[in-house]
């Protein structure tokens, strides 16, 4: 098993956000997490990546057998966990190229590999750039600065391609994308799928799952996974919305 989330609980400030998540992901699998706004989808992504504003209050997460929660965000990344941000950050003054080089060098060092020579690095960038159809003009620009929504998301996928993670978490990668951009991003992800890596796709809509077909779909509601199934579950949600789920759940929740 690659990722084992066991009864994970977390809060932001005083507010409990995750209330006991259980999820297992094996190599080669694509899992989708769906759910209404505010259900905790993005919080789960943030907690797994190690965002400091979240405090884990219970449960455990192992990643390839190691305690994930014990690692700093940079170590999680070097161990092979990747988060594609819902809102990629703009950093004026840091060039995209310089940033990618620093990240790749750290990953290689972690594996005991020497840094790429400039020539090797350029060849590597070029190969990955083509894979995700990333405009080479954007390479020497400041990181994400002035990029369109689609360019930012494509840049996330480019980073994913370059860092070759074991587990990629895509946090609402489809938000703010038009249909063409969505297709390009999805094609990039599909090309990167293999029997050795896994994806956790967080999305509000079914649409993305037409392009990246998941093996499993989970519904997150109020900090818990309330239902798991196959791709059909996503279609059912698309058809019926989330309201039926809310009603069903409220009956089960104790009156507060």
């Amino acid at each position: 098993m690659m990722l084992n989330i066991n009864d994970l609980q977390a809060r932001v400030e005083e507010k409990a956000i995750l209330k006991g998540i259980n999820l297992q992901i094996n190599p080669g699998e694509v899992h989708a997490i769906m759910g209404p706004n505010g259900s905790g989808k993005s919080s789960l992504a943030s907690v797994l990546a190690g965002r400091e504003s979240y405090e884990v209050t219970g449960g455990s997460v192992t990643f390839d057998g190691k305690d994930l929660l014990d690692m700093s965000p940079e170590v999680r990344a070097r161990e092979g966990l990747f988060l594609a941000f819902q809102y990629p950050v703009e950093i004026p003054g840091v060039s995209n190229m310089q940033f990618l080089k620093a990240a790749v060098t750290e990953h290689r060092a972690h594996k005991g590999l020497p840094p790429f020579t400039p020539k090797e690095f350029l060849a590597f960038v070029k190969e990955k750039q083509q894979l995700v159809q990333f405009d080479s003009q954007l390479m020497n620009r400041s990181l994400n600065e002035g990029f369109s929504g689609g360019e930012k998301k494509r840049n996330e996928i480019l980073q994913l391609a370059m860092l070759e993670p074991k587990l990629s978490i895509l946090d609402e990668t489809d938000s703010g994308l038009d249909i063409d951009a969505l297709r390009i991003v999805s094609e990039g992800v599909n090309k990167l799928r293999s029997k050795d890596n896994a994806f956790l796709i967080i999305t509000h809509y079914q649409r993305l799952l037409d392009y990246i077909v998941p093996d499993f779909v989970h519904v997150l509601y109020n900090g818990r996974i309330v239902r798991s199934g196959t791709r059909e579950l996503a279609l059912e949600l698309e058809e019926k919305g989330y309201d039926w789920l809310k009603e069903e759940m409220h009956l089960q929740e104790p009156v507060q």
Binding site: G50, E52, P73, F85, V94, F99, A102, H107
Partner: protein, 445 residues
């Protein structure tokens, strides 16, 4: 509120000055001796700047003046020692002429100078003798700083550079100010640079006071600069001195029509105290002034940058950008003044000071000031104080970049607007490398 500075130096000064003057009676023209005398009287009347007066509101100079200072800059130092120190002071890959001053005095035999047809370099005493000095020395303008008066009264030696009319100096000139002393030294050094009509030059300055001196250096330097019509001067100050160095540096520039003066101040030292004053006066039209600064301060350092641009004539541009990063318990002070005089219509004047505070105990006092007396001008000024963006830091870390490296990256990015203006690649590399080392030291403490 007045606050009189007490220091043993106050009682010492009249005797020092009297001796100084009598030593020079034979060598210097009467006019210079008179100026020295007047400057000294003015200084004694005002005294060292009192803490909390407007110009020194956040900068208390008193703690830096408590040693039993010597004013004697005469020294002999082995050439081999000098050569070793020089090597360490030259940025890797910098192809430049090297002009060496020891305790303020230009040393021709240690220097590699440009062709005499392009640039004339002499000691101040030789320039005084030749009569070339007086026309540009201590030029009258409404306000002189206290330390400037003290310098005029007491300066012993220095260097005069004249870039000849129409000359375009093929390589930058790197001035290395080397100090050699074994007891606390109060050094008044003086420079006068004239860039004649149509001439172009780049001047880089570095101060070296090696740890082996083992005693405090208080360097009160005045550099007077004239850019004649259509001249272009780039002036880089690389302040990288060690902890025992205290600096008051005055740069006073008179710009004539169509000239360009660009000043780059990089303060990445361990010096306990740095005060830089830059005063620019426009005496012609169509002038361009660029002032760029980047300062890094840590531990208990005090770094104070005061700049003033006097737009006295129409159709001139000035552009100022100072950025600072404050660590530990360091204090940064920025004061930028732009005066747009009544005649100075069609002035474009921009000023910006941005600060990044990386430690809870660090502080910055910043005051951009704009005084406009003309009615058809474009001026702006602004200041910010912020921190490293946590979101940006997390983004970098989430890609495997370590905390310290990510922080360095963001500081470099912050400084980028300033470092990108450097036109000498070796200097840019040097600045970025020193900044890295500086931040690494901070991260490892």
């Amino acid at each position: 509120m007045t606050n009189t500075l007490t220091s043993p130096i106050i009682a010492q000064l009249p005797g020092v000055f009297e001796q100084h003057l009598s030593d020079r009676k034979q060598a210097e023209p009467a006019s210079l001796l008179t100026q020295r005398d007047e400057a000294f009287k003015t200084f004694m009347l005002k005294g060292f700047p009192a803490y909390r007066t407007e110009e020194w509101k956040y900068t208390n100079v008193a703690p830096f003046l408590q040693e039993a200072f010597s004013f004697d800059t005469t020294t002999t130092v082995a050439n081999t020692t000098v050569e070793e120190l020089l090597k360490a002071a030259i940025p890797a890959g910098l192809d430049a002429y090297t002009l060496v001053c020891v305790n303020g005095k230009f040393q021709k035999e240690l220097s590699q100078v440009p062709a005499e047809a392009d640039v004339q370099i002499t000691t101040v005493s030789a320039a005084i003798e030749a009569g070339a000095y007086a026309p540009h020395f201590n030029t009258e303008y409404d306000y002189k700083h206290t330390f400037e008066d003290l310098n005029t009264a007491l300066f012993e030696e220095g260097m005069m550079i004249v870039v000849k009319k129409g000359a375009s100096v093929d390589k930058p000139m790197h001035i290395i100010h080397l100090y050699h002393h074994s007891s606390p030294l109060f050094a008044q050094t003086r420079q006068l640079w004239v860039v004649e009509e149509g001439a172009q030059a780049q001047i880089i300055e570095t101060l070296v006071d090696p740890a082996s001196n083992n005693a405090v250096l208080f360097n009160n330097n005045v550099t007077e600069i004239v850019t004649e019509a259509t001249a272009n001067l780039q002036h880089y100050q690389l302040q990288t001195a060690l902890h025992h160095v205290r600096i008051v540096h005055q740069t006073r520039v008179h710009q004539h029509e169509d000239s360009v003066y660009s000043h780059f101040a990089f303060i990445m030292s361990s010096a306990a105290f740095t005060r830089n004053n830059i005063d620019i006066v426009h005496v012609g039209e169509h002038i361009e002034t660029n002032l760029y600064g980047f300062y890094l301060a840590s531990e208990q350092q005090l770094i104070d940058n005061h700049t003033a641009v006097h737009h006295a004539k129409p159709n001139c541009n000035s552009n100022e950008l100072y950025k600072g990063v404050l660590l530990d318990k360091a204090v940064g002070v920025f004061n930028g003044k732009i005066f747009v005089h009544q005649d100075a219509q069609k002035t474009n004047a921009f000023q910006q000071n941005n600060n990044m505070i990386l430690s809870e105990g660090a502080m910055v006092y910043t005051k951009p000031q704009l005084e406009i007396y003309a009615d058809d001008v474009k001026c702006s000024h602004g200041t910010t104080i912020g921190q490293v963006s946590e979101e940006a830091l997390f983004y970098l870390k989430s890609r495997g970049i370590g905390e310290a490296a990510a922080r360095n990256m963001l500081v470099h990015a912050f400084a980028y607007d300033v470092t990108a203006q450097i036109t000498v690649p070796a200097i840019r590399k040097y600045i970025e490398q020193i900044a890295d080392e500086y931040l690494d030291t901070f991260a490892n403490n």
